[in-house]
Subunit: 138 residues, 2 copies
């Protein structure tokens, strides 16, 4: 699907997948979105990027765990500069899945959560569909 | 529903609705989320807050316009401090609707888009369901 325009027009440029991936790698907190029974939910999580996929950790008992296993999800990161009224945004969309083989991942590719708590579940959002846009200052 | 934990545990505090509203008013860019046929989509938009509801503008011809009219939507804002590994996040959830009476709104309550382009459609996400959390630095 075409995601259409939120930031649009003259000052805006679509980013190619390699730029999107580079920007995705530049942040440590993104937002996972899923469709619950009563509509979409968006929640911030720490994440890591491995082979172009997003990995994040969550608790086995929360709503993320209930809704992302083998179901469509989105993962969004951005950087916004209020002063220059500019920024960029990157969006991954795909079927999220639980990661069984987390111990095969290099340590540096494992997501680290800022918050305390039990997050034994690792979730992967595949990087196959990645789009992004940059809004330039006027 | 309980949105569950993304940032969770010791260092995290749930925010009450009045704090959420205050934080919501403190930003100018948020993220609208909707469920498309092939899964969730999250896109940044400029917004304003009027009577506790979020208002934003969009083009009549894009995917936001196609998916938010009288359908469940979410609106998310946050502020993240990478250095102290802390931040807050606020989430509105409700049925989005097109605003017919935009000219009745005070000028200061109308959303202003940073990007150029035709955004004749005004969308309201009601503020009835607002939740948020703050993650404190360790």
């Amino acid at each position: 699907m075409t995601t259409g325009s939120s930031w649009t027009s003259g000052k805006l440029r679509e980013l190619d997948p390699s730029e999107c991936l580079e920007l995705l790698r530049s942040r440590s907190v993104g937002r996972v979105a899923f469709c619950a029974e009563d509509g979409p939910v968006v929640l911030p999580v720490n994440y890591a990027v491995h082979d172009g996929d997003v990995l994040f950790r969550t608790s086995p008992h929360n709503s993320i765990a209930r809704h992302v296993n083998s179901r469509p999800a989105a993962f969004q990161v951005d950087e916004i500069d209020d002063f220059t009224q500019s920024g960029w945004s990157v969006l991954l969309r795909g079927t999220a899945e639980l990661v069984e083989d987390v111990h095969d991942l290099p340590q540096e590719d494992r997501p680290v959560s800022w918050a305390e708590g039990t997050r034994t579940l690792y979730v992967r959002v595949p990087g196959g569909s990645i789009t992004g846009r940059r809004l330039y200052p006027t």
